[in-house]
Structures are given as C-alpha cells and as structure tokens.
Subunit: 182 residues, 2 copies
C-alpha cells in the first residue's frame, strides 16, 4: 500500500523478550530483509541507543520505563515519516510497552519467546552468569520480572524455529499492514 | 534536488540563541513554510521534547550538553530518512553544537540573534525576571554564558528584521542545499 505522497506506511516494530532471547539477531535480520525490499528502516538498538538516548539510565523499573518511553517516542517520530522503526529492548513491563502502542499509529509488538533455560545457556553477554552470582541486581528473568505481552501481533519462538521463519512471520504482518509488499 | 529514490534531501536545522530570542517562533514559521512546500519536516521543540527526551535534565552544562546530544541524535536519524528536522534549543555551548554538526550529513546552524536587552524586555516565559531575582541559577545570558556560533550558515536578527524575512533567509539556504525547491 502506497499513500498519496508515494511513500509506504511507517510502523513501530517492538521486539520484547528476555536477555539473550534473540531480539538483536531478529532485529538485524529483519532490517536486512526490509532494506532488500526497498523499505525505509531504522533499527534502534545497541550502543548507539545507549550512548545517545539512554546514558545514565540503569535497570530499575523507573529507568527501564524511561528508556522505553524515549525509544518509543523516537520510533514514533520515525514512523510518522514513513519509516519502519525496529526497537530491540528487553522492555519487561507491559504498561510501558502499552503506552508506546497507544502513541504509535501502527504498532507491531513481537514477543521474542525463548525459555529461560535456553537464554541462560546462550548467555550472549555473560550477564546471566553474573546475575546468578549476585553481581548484577535487577536482572530480568533472574531477580526482576518479565511480563510477557498478552496480545502481541507476532510471537516468534527462537528456541524452536529458524531465524528465517521468525523474520518471515514479522514480514507477513508488516505486509498485511501495508508497510511492505507481500 | 531529488535523490535517486525520489526523496528530497534531509537536513538538521539547528536554531540557537538566548532565551526569548525567538527560536520557537521561527521554528514554527519555518515548519509551516516547509509543510506548504511539501517538505517532510519535524520540529523538535517544546513540551514534547521535555516530556519524552529530556525528563530529569536540568540546566547545568553537563545536562544541557546531554540534551543537545539527544536531540541532535534524533534530528540526525530523521535527516537520514529525508526529513528536515528543526531543533529550537538555547544550546549555549559551541562544542556541543559542533558535535551535532559533525554527526549530521547536512547541518544548517541558525544563529537567532537578539540583544540581551530586547530578550529581557520580551521575557516570554517570565524567566529573566526570576533569574535576575536569583530564583533561577544557571540562566543563560544572566548567570551562565552563551557562546554564539562562529560560522553559522544563517544569522537572523529578530530585533531588526521581520519574521518572514528571517524565515526566507533559512529557506534560501535550504534551497541551496537541495532540501527544498528554491
């Protein structure tokens, strides 16, 4: 679907899930797939966000909610200008995610689901090990809660399906919403 | 100038100047003029920024520089996607502005120049009165420095020229850079 100005519709794609569930991997693969399809896309993830938007924020509920608010605001601005913005934050609290949903025009919540056991096995950044050793407080899944989405637009199960299949599920939803050609 | 994808070139338009110099007024008029010309534009100004990006930041040099970094980052993201992003912050420190300049592809610094006497006379938000009464510390122009740009792309003098003329100066520079038709 192309709007009257010739631009495709923007979207906020919000990946949420436990640490090491595979959010960044999916965000990168989804970004690449969208770029191949000629879609304007912006990934909001990683060091760039930590340096430029989240400096000084920690892992308390307030700080996490503030991070979600900031990234959600930026994603919404990009969406307004026809960009598919992809966020990849643990974003463990339902209420904060739902506030982003309410402020976006076109919101696709992707629950990146993976068993805690498998996340601990992967432990991409060695953080679970440190959290279980008591070195890190407020660690989602260990000492802090994770509230799974109740009605996500997409559920991907990274411990059960191939990356390509997870990406395809998201692309299909984006196609249905007119953000990418099916 | 239209790029190969058919989009106009994005830009970061950075308005800087004393409190009450007229930054927001110019930002709003410039935004309206660009919208009339069919340009994708996003103003980064006012309560929306304070709520969504700057919450908790004060007026120390570090906090002001952090605000400039955040807004500069967001403006740069928008620019990358073909949007003319207009920032309207006092942004009193040259080094912080120059860092945004260095990170943008296409940066137009607009020095919104107005004599301190005239800014105090206008005192749009009543802040000069409170600053001079000692109620507000770190107030640019009174108790904190303002470092004017050394080589701004545009200087507008809001105590000497009409709003329309100030906006036209900026539009002319944007036209020269291919962000808007001349």
């Amino acid at each position: 679907m192309i709007d009257s100005s010739g631009a495709r519709r923007g979207c906020v794609v919000w990946l949420t899930g436990l640490p090491s569930a595979g959010k960044s991997t999916i965000a990168e693969a989804l970004e690449a797939a969208l770029v191949r399809r000629g879609v304007r896309v912006q990934r909001l993830d990683g060091d760039e966000i930590r340096t430029n938007l989240s400096r000084g924020l920690g892992f308390s509920k307030d700080d996490r909610d503030e991070q979600v608010r900031r990234v959600g605001y930026v994603a919404g601005l990009l969406e307004r200008h026809g960009v598919v913005a992809i966020s990849a934050l643990v974003s463990p609290y339902r209420e904060a995610r739902d506030a982003v949903r309410a402020s976006a025009e076109n919101f696709v919540e992707v629950y990146v689901k993976c068993s805690l056991e498998e996340c601990i096995r992967r432990d991409v950044k060695g953080l679970y090990r440190r959290a279980r050793g008591g070195e890190i407080a407020n660690f989602t899944g260990i000492s802090d809660p994770y509230e799974p989405p109740l009605h996500p637009e997409v559920v991907v199960e990274t411990d059960r399906e191939r990356l390509d299949d997870s990406v395809k599920k998201i692309l299909d939803v984006l196609a249905g919403k007119g953000c990418v050609h099916g």
